[in-house]
């Protein structure tokens, strides 16, 4: 007998319908699954056989052929187990064929018939809605994640036997509704807050500018001065994500299997901080069927590279194109996939090998040559994408001890959102959305300087020994500072503050 059941496969961050066809005929007993499945799918035969038996049903001792259509796409993972077992049960007549219409089945089976959670449920749910599915049967543990998609009846199941009894009408369908989830609640639920940081006012200001214009930052400071602590708090002052943005982030995290349990929708902007031993594949994504890398996992959030000079040159080079384009396209033998990668890059580095160059106590043991060499390690194209350089000094005990009022992230975020709105308004109908994306050709239109500002700029290059690459960066950051000030044109105060954020271009670094 023949049966057909719908399940779902993943291609990048999108799902596609997979039809699980089963045919049982007489012949030498066998169980074959065709349709370019990977090892996990081949092994599904054993899991399904045991799960059916242990759920109290009979496994047919006949010739079973299954096909995962479309047969030309590679499929991977254990999420087809539930559909495969139901296909067999439907073909042997245990389940009514008609009950399977307009339903989709996702889940991995344990040998005792339990349904276990799988990765990538959210994109599958989105795919189900797009294909007119009404009921999505999935592992109980994945129910909250899928419930973000409202137009769908979510049917969480615990075991195979329960699924069969629902399908044969013996038990009622109890669609899952997540009561804890509230659309209006967009706070993000960050555990960190800028109010935790005492002192470091100039760094906070620089990070606020970075958040307001979406600028990439480089932080230089001795070990233990709080670079990581400050960077971790950057997501908390970025504008709250819209529902669409949150859905996109959740999809990526769902595929990567890093969604925290009990969190249906990622509302906090992601903060990814890979170790410096990471490979280029780990950073931008890859694999025989490409998976998202750290830069995609940090989509709409912050990618933090601590100890920048320790990262391999190759992995840093691979970041250049996605940083520019906001997407990364990975081509492998099996597939070419495009993942979104729109992220704010924050890098941190010691100023020199011993780390004490910026320390006023003068204990640095490095020679100027060594400092040059250390900074030189990270120079080049990646540094060119850093709009803001921040020098972080160790915080003084006086600051740690003080009880003065410190601004909370929520207050700063409100200002940041205001500045972003100005930019969105200005760049309406253009391909860019923030000042960090301004191209040199647009400077004349959006970053016009009056004669006073031009004088300052000229003076800066003459007197402070700035390098030429600083010019464009200063203009962009000045534009952002003007936006924070709600000023139409860039005034000298905005320009001069922007100049403060180009430490590395100054002469003091080439003593």
């Amino acid at each position: 007998m023949y049966s057909k059941i719908k399940s779902c496969g993943l291609m990048g961050i999108d799902g596609y319908i997979v039809e699980v066809e089963t045919d049982i005929s007489s012949g030498i007993p066998a169980f074959d699954i065709v349709g370019l499945g990977d090892t996990a799918i081949r092994e599904a035969r054993e899991r399904v056989r045991s799960a059916i038996k242990n759920s109290g049903f009979e496994f047919p001792i006949r010739r079973i052929t299954m096909n995962l259509a479309p047969a030309n796409l590679k499929k991977e993972g254990s999420s087809f187990d539930l559909a495969i077992s139901l296909g067999i049960l439907a073909s042997t007549g245990i389940i009514e064929h008609s009950s399977l219409q307009r339903s989709m089945f996702i889940g991995e089976l344990a040998l005792n018939g339990c349904v276990k959670p799988v990765k990538g449920v959210l994109p599958m749910a989105v795919c189900a809605v797009q294909n007119g599915i009404r009921y999505l049967f999935l592992p109980e543990a994945n129910a909250r994640e899928a419930s973000v998609v409202r137009e769908l009846h979510i049917v969480p199941v615990k075991e195979l036997k329960e699924t069969v009894s629902i399908l044969s009408g013996e038990s009622e369908i109890v669609p899952f509704v997540d009561t804890a989830f509230d659309d209006e609640d967009t706070d993000g639920g960050y555990t960190e807050d800028f109010a935790d940081v005492k002192g470091q006012e100039n760094v906070k200001r620089a990070l606020e500018v970075a958040a307001s214009g979406g600028h990439n930052c480089l932080m230089l400071g001795s070990p233990g001065c709080g670079k990581t602590m400050l960077a971790r708090r950057l997501p908390t002052i970025l504008p709250s994500m819209t529902f669409e943005e949150a859905l996109e982030v959740t999809k990526i995290h769902s595929i990567a299997g890093i969604l925290p349990p009990g969190l249906p929708l990622v509302k906090a902007r992601p903060f990814r901080s890979p170790h410096h031993t990471i490979s280029d594949t780990g950073l931008v994504g890859g694999g025989s069927i490409p998976r998202p890398g750290e830069i995609s996992l940090a989509h709409y959030g912050v990618l933090f590279l601590d100890e920048l000079p320790e990262f391999s040159k190759k992995s840093l080079e691979s970041l250049r194109q996605p940083l520019e384009d906001g997407v990364i396209t990975i081509t492998r033998v099996n597939a070419t996939l495009t993942y979104p990668a729109r992220t704010t890059l924050i890098c941190a580095a010691n100023p020199c090998r011993c780390g004490k160059f910026l320390d006023p106590s003068g204990q640095c043991t490095c020679t100027p040559g060594q400092i040059q060499q250390y900074i030189g390690k990270m120079s080049g194209p990646l540094l060119d994408r850093m709009d803001i350089h921040i020098e972080v000094s160790p915080v003084k005990y006086k600051d740690l001890d003080s009880n003065g009022p410190v601004e909370s992230s929520a207050v700063i975020r409100e200002r940041v959102e205001g500045a972003r709105r100005v930019q969105l308004e200005r760049y309406k109908g253009m391909s860019i959305y923030s000042n960090s994306q301004l191209q040199p050709a647009m400077f004349a239109k959006f970053c016009r300087l009056d004669s006073k500002c031009r004088d300052i700029m000229k003076n800066v290059f003459d007197r402070l020994g700035m390098s030429a690459r600083a010019h464009g960066r200063i203009l962009k950051v000045a534009r952002t500072i003007a936006d924070m000030d709600r000023s139409e044109e860039i005034k000298p105060v905005h320009l001069t503050e922007a100049i403060q954020y180009r430490s590395l271009d100054r002469k003091i670094w080439n003593i």
């Binding site: 002192g199 100023p351 003068g362 043991t365 020679t367 040559g369 000094s393 001069t496 503050e497 670094w509």
Partner: protein, 341 residues
């Protein structure tokens, strides 16, 4: 022998017979003068000297600095790039290679103010205090002499190459070692005796307990020179050496006047108010004035400036850049600011 031949060149060019005839040499000396290897190595050295365009000044030359000549152990030969004068008033400014901003600042300031008064600054072209001393002298428009512990064709430390060229144009770079000599550690203490020997006095700016500049001070005492020391914070490990010098009787330096006084020089009064004149020309606004006031006591971090002046970070950043552009303040690594000297 020199009396007889009048010039080493003649000894060099003399044949075996002539040397014998002079009756001044033992056969061993003649043998070594005629030896092929020795002659080749001397020719190679001459090549190197010519290549870097260095003058060779011997103890018997008239332009050999007279102060140095009358010390106990003057170098027989000085290799010199630039111009060395026979009688000039020199003061050595030396100190730690690893110095604090305070030390670097003081070195530069003292040297500049001495140079303005026509005093030549002698130092060792090392990192830290030495480099600042040369820079200060150049800023003051005076002469400066760098005494190296390696050949004069070598720039050591390498980042000072540009500074070395400037010193050559405004003074001299000298060494008792042949061009091509590597900067090996045991050469440096020996060159310190030249630094002190050239000078009327040695000012130690910042020295830790085991600093090489204390060796220079020791030589100075042996050679009968004055030793001046710039006092430092008694808790600072970078000033233990100088503070000890003061305890042991070195003259304390609280300003350039202390050195001038000791040198017994006739000074023109126009030079004395150098610093005061320079800053008088600025016209500061209210915020600028309060920031400048905060910076009076030394380098301050940008956060502290903002807090103490009651201004926002954004405002302070902007004002500081303006002050920097007008040359009134200077930025130090780590977002510290100080008034320009």
């Amino acid at each position: 022998m020199l009396d007889c031949f009048r010039d080493p060149v003649y000894i060099w060019e003399a044949g075996e017979a002539e040397l014998k005839a002079s009756g001044l040499c033992t056969p061993k000396v003649i043998r070594s003068l005629m030896d092929k290897d020795v002659r080749e190595s001397i020719t190679a050295a001459m090549d190197k000297i010519n290549k870097c365009d260095a003058d060779v000044i011997t103890l018997y030359d008239s332009c050999y600095p007279s102060a140095l000549k009358h010390t106990a152990d003057p170098p027989i030969v000085l290799y010199c790039r630039g111009k060395l004068e026979r009688d000039e008033v020199c003061v050595a400014v030396v100190g730690s290679r690893r110095a604090t901003w305070y030390g670097l600042d003081m070195a530069k300031r003292l040297s500049r103010e001495l140079a303005v008064r026509g005093i030549t600054i002698v130092s060792g072209l090392a990192r830290g205090v030495d480099s600042q001393a040369h820079k200060g002298a150049l800023e003051g428009g005076g002469r400066t002499i760098a005494v190296l512990g390696c050949g004069v064709d070598r720039a050591y430390p390498p980042e000072n190459r540009e500074l070395m060229n400037k010193v050559m144009e405004n003074g001299a770079v000298i060494s008792e070692y042949l061009p091509g000599t590597e900067p090996v550690p045991y050469n440096f203490p020996a060159r310190n005796r030249i630094i002190s020997g050239l000078s009327r006095g040695v000012a130690v700016v910042e020295a830790s307990e085991r600093s090489g500049s204390l060796i220079t001070a020791d030589f100075a005492l042996e050679q009968g020179r004055d030793v001046y020391a710039v006092p430092g914070n008694i808790n600072s490990a970078y000033s233990t050496g100088t503070n000890r010098l003061i305890r042991e009787g070195a003259k304390i330096v609280t300003g350039v006047g202390d050195i001038i006084e000791e040198l017994n020089l006739e000074m023109t009064s126009e030079n004395l108010n150098y610093s005061a004149k320079k800053s008088a020309g600025f016209n500061l606004s209210g915020d600028e004035k309060s920031i400048a006031q905060r910076l009076m006591s030394g380098p301050v971090h940008i956060d502290s400036i903002a807090r103490d002046c009651g201004l926002s970070i954004a405002a302070v950043s902007s004002v500081l850049v303006m002050l920097e552009l007008s040359g009134f303040v200077e930025q130090l690594p780590g977002k510290f600011y100080k008034l320009t000297e």
